[in-house]
Amino acid sequence: MAEISASLPAFTPKSRAQRLREALRYYLPTVLVAFSVLVIWELAVRVLNIQQFLLPRPSAIFEAWFEEFQTFISGGGSILFQASGATLYSAIGGFLLGCGAGVFVALATARWTIISEAMMPFAIAANSVPIIAFAPVTNNWFGLTNPASKMAIVAVIVFFPTMINTVRGLTMVEPRQLELMQSYAARPWKILRALRIPNALPYILSALRVASALSVIGAVVAEFFGGPRATLGVYITQEAAGFNFARAWTGIIMASAIGISFYVVVLLVERWAMPWHVSFRKKS
């Protein structure tokens, strides 16, 4: 505290130019790395004369993407962007269903530690099963072109890590913090609200972060097993089969962009939901 207040008189609001310079210094290395990777990639493909079905040039990928982008903004049905939308829809739908159910089941059984503890080994075992292998099965259940078939797979994939982490967060409470509640003669549901749930929040949000990445992967891979033409998984396989490798790569790029954006959104929610958490404490 002393240090902070001692440095207070010297504090002056930063000018816009100053802030810009700081942001630049912060992001510049990342931008430089990305740029050099692209340049090396481009040069390597040209110099080593790499076949485009192995690895297309980034410039070719960008051209193909830009073409689609122009059709998209001119309103002339871009299949790439349509596919991205469809995959995003499956991913988010599955994410919400699966994570919602995971948190719900964990909370519902929190009152009965015995039940949630009995469930844990099964949940952990189920979590190690490659659930994506069930995609052909859900395709049969809901129909190949029904987005529900992809959502179901995504939901099952994210359900287990979310449930497991939530149960852990609800039960792994410091004994002393529990004793404090006991000393107030707090009822179980008040302990749940005032102690167990806040304690579980970091566990839940880190599960959601993992789930956000898993859900996009799950949706795209589930689409590899078949689905409507306008989904990223189908788009990538079909373009690759038709030797349009630059176009196939635009699909991969879009899938990555969706995955990263989704992850960042969850990260922002995390910051907003627990500003008190260790990982977000200001260093200065």
Binding site: Q182, A185, A186
Partner: protein, 263 residues
Amino acid sequence: MAEQNAAQVILARNVNKIFNPGSDEQVIALQDINLTVKQGEFISLIGPSGCGKSTLLRLIADLITPTNGELKINDKTPHQARLDRDYGMVFQAATLYDWRTVIKNVQLPLEIMGYPAHVRKTRAQEMLDLVELGKFAKHYPWQLSGGMQQRVAIARALAFEPSLLLMDEPFGALDEFTRERMNMELLRIWTRTGITVIFVTHSIPEAVFLSSRVVVMTPRPGRITQVVDVDLPYPRVFETRELPRYFELITTVREHLREAHGG
């Protein structure tokens, strides 16, 4: 309140506490504890590490149960007393909730006990002012020093105005100067509210300065060996520490502790 009985806040008769009885790790934490505490007393528990001070406090708080013997809090079982929220406890570690601001931490017991929002707010702010942390209401616990966190824990224990305050080495983490200030603060609260205090400490001068009685304990097995009446005048002020009687009492307590150690 039935006057003749209400006066007796704690009654312990032949209380024993044995951890893991019958196993290799059996520990006789407390043996033959006899103690009565009257309303408004300030009792210090002093003794070497492991002599069962925390255990005795936790028995009174009904966080653990005696192996045998009779224990009554306000003429009730400890369990009933806990349900009636008869006591506030300050643990050996501050035990604040990381996700709550300082003032929200102080409000916690009031929330659990269902006080209305406006009462919670004003009461918590009062308590924070009392421990001189009014300006830190919006801070998070990790932004405070260990001593400040401990003061928040004290404010929290006082927030719902319990008639009995159990304190387990509350000032252990404080420097000498702050400690003396907090001692004065605690005495002021004690005089003003008429609360009964059970206070665990390792400091002989602190025990003598604060208490109406000092309970000297010994380890293995944990027992009460002496109870020293502190006949220093009230109010206890800065000058109390310069009275010859103050030094005499310190020596008395120290000798009892040494005897107990077999030295």
